[in-house]
Amino acid sequence: MNLRQLTAAAGLGLAAMISPALADNITVTDITGREVVVDAPVDRVILGEGRQIYLVGALEPENPFQRVVGWREDFSQADPDNYATYLKQFPRMAEIPTFGGFKDSTFDVEQAIALAPDVILMNIESKAATESAQYVEKLEAVGIPLVYVDFREDPFAHTEPSMRLIGQLFGKEKEAEAFLDYRHRQIKRVTDVIEAAKPERPSVFIDRAGGYSDDCCMSFGDGNFGEYVEMAGGQNIAAGIIPATFGNLNPEQIIAANPDHVVVTGGSWDAYVPGGKWVGVGPGADPAEAYRKLEALTHRAAMTGIAAVERSQFHAIWHQFYNSPYEFVAVQRIAKWLHPELFADLDPEATFVELHQRFLPVPYTPGYWVSLSDVEH
């Protein structure tokens, strides 16, 4: 060991002694395959989408907002019920600076720099807009790294790496793995059974935001809820018809396809369509009211005489499962509707309760689904 190496080693050792908890430069790979150098663990984070708190919250349930210095204002609009629950528990949340605007597009880069974050988490949908505005370069120039995460566009492929990435950034790898392991096992509880039993696949019509407008009927193609239905052992009647993730079905097609089940997605949309025909399922929903509105949707012309209505296999589920990393609960719920005998011992509600107890910052509030096959009504 020569003198130079010695001084270098001593310097390193000294540095390590002086600040053992100081952040290190680590290289992480984001969802798009970009390698980004970040000073981790980070203390100041900007959430490019407010609902990323669904992931962040599972890592730091005791104080999910401690690192958040700014976020997009979509949580309160898209998921008002949970927003209220979080706000009650973490009143400080209301003071976090927000930026509004289009769902996909970007933010005020000046505001972002002023908040001096250690990292910015962006959703993959905003990639095109972010790139065309060259935000990455602009932020790099002031030393702010940006990483892409995703739990919506391809939830089953991207939620795991996204969660791991956030875990790495926060220095919470263990918590991230625990959550992912739980999620993975819960998904397998459905997919393993379907794979082993290979049951006949009942046909399912997914009524996207049924009753939101009188234009019948929006649905999902292969992606998102379409994928949940396939995983749950059903056959989506719009698969192969709707080219993109969501689109419109000819109302007559529903009669022609004669689906065995209808799954309406719903939420409390009083802010948008006051007194509308939507089914207000979600945390804290009134089950009797949700049941009544769900029943009313069976009287639309497009539902005439279909098997799902005749046999009361008409269900409603919380619409926001479409962009939540807790979508595996929806998969379990749909699976149990489609194959009640196969999943007799599966209790989706218990799963959701356990998820909240073990991982999430807020307590569980029931009301996420309702079905005309429920006996208690």
């Binding site: 898209a78 234009d215 080219p243 007559e252 009669i255 022609a256 396809a257």
Partner: protein, 355 residues
């Protein structure tokens, strides 16, 4: 000698005129038959693949077929097919009369900002639940669309009544309105939630699936009430196309004529747009086809415009559900994609000057 000459030329002129009228009547009959065929195809086609016999039985004796077939024919296919016909006719006649009174081949509900106003009104309701006039929930969006569309039309009237305003000014003003409402629409979208954004986008693409019997009857009533007004003024409207000075020399009060026609035309375009969303280019292309085939004489031009618009939209309805079976393509997209090439060819082949 010269006397017999005049007589014979008068006779030949009369013969010529009769032949012309006859030719135009045949043309109208042709349009009518084509429309009927298109309507039948629209009723017969659908993802359920019912046999022709079943369709006919469902139409003539609804009780003899299963209830599902009844519902498909009477509650799903029929309102859409009939809505296509009345909306097409209404928009085309609206466009025809706008072109007539403004003496401008580019005038239509689409280019004068009435559609754009309707879209903005609808978006207000869809995104924020804003109701301009309290109403039953299923009519909130159409009523909003209608109110803003009428405000746009009213604004155009106000300005057009000022002294020294030419028809060119009105057309330019319409274009300014289009841009204004498009900007306002973008503003609404900027603040809208994702869910509402999807609804707004779908609304502005136009879709006949919103059709119901109630909406059909309202639209039909407007057409039935407004058309006779135009027929009664057929000669005066024809004279308008000769220019303001000539029309005035025939004793026509052109300012009044313009104002009354504008009011009727606004009704005729705002109501269908409020119900089915933006359906572009029918109001522009429909009357041009009619004019090229039948000429400017309003006695024939008016029904021909109505029929050609109805035919375009009815055929588009068939296309919109056949492109990807099982889904319904937004009809506004179909009419625009078919209408734009036609419109360009119209501009380029202007040597023939049907205008």
């Amino acid at each position: 000698m010269s006397n017999t000459n005049t007589l014979s030329s008068m006779a030949s002129g009369r013969g010529h005129y009769r032949a012309l009228v006859r030719r135009r009547q045949l043309m109208l009959a042709g349009f009518g038959i084509a429309l009927l065929v298109s309507l039948c195809v629209d009723l017969a086609l659908g993802p359920s693949n019912y046999s022709l016999e079943q369709v006919i039985r469902a139409l003539v004796a609804p009780d003899s077929v299963p209830v599902q077939v009844q519902v498909v024919l009477w509650e799903i296919r029929m309102p859409i097919a009939l809505m296509a016909v009345v909306v097409g006719a209404a928009l085309s006649v609206a466009g025809a009369q706008m072109q007539t009174i403004l003496n401008n081949p580019l005038a239509s509900p689409f280019t004068l900002g009435i559609s754009a106003g309707a879209s903005f009104g609808a978006a207000l309701a869809l995104a924020f639940g804003v109701t301009l006039i309290p109403a039953a929930i299923e009519y909130v969006v159409p009523i909003n669309a209608f109110v803003v569309a009428m405000l746009a039309a009213f604004f155009i009237h106000l300005v057009s009544m000022r002294r020294g305003v030419t028809v060119q000014t009105i057309v330019l003003l319409g274009i300014a309105l289009v841009f204004t409402f498009n900007a306002l629409l973008a503003l609404v979208q900027f603040f809208a939630s994702q869910q509402a954004l999807a609804a707004v986008v779908f609304w502005t693409m136009g879709s006949l699936t919103k059709a119901t019997w109630g909406k059909f009857w309202i639209t039909l009533a407007v057409v039935v009430v407004v058309l006779p007004f135009f027929f009664r003024r057929a000669w005066a409207l024809t004279a308008m196309r000769l220019g303001d000075a000539k029309a005035e020399s025939f004793g026509i009060n052109i300012a009044r004529m313009r104002l009354e026609t504008m009011i009727l035309v606004s009704l005729l375009s705002a109501i269908p747009i409020a119900f089915v969303g933006t359906v572009g280019f029918v109001g522009l292309v429909g009357p041009h086809i009619a004019r090229m085939l039948i000429g400017e004489d309003q006695r024939f031009f008016l029904p021909a415009s109505a029929l050609s618009g109805a035919l375009i939209l009815s055929a588009s309805s068939v296309v919109s559900k056949s492109l990807i079976p099982g889904t319904i393509f937004p009809i506004g997209v179909v009419t625009s994609l078919v209408g734009i090439p036609f419109f360009i060819s119209l501009i380029l082949s202007n040597q023939r000057r049907s205008w």
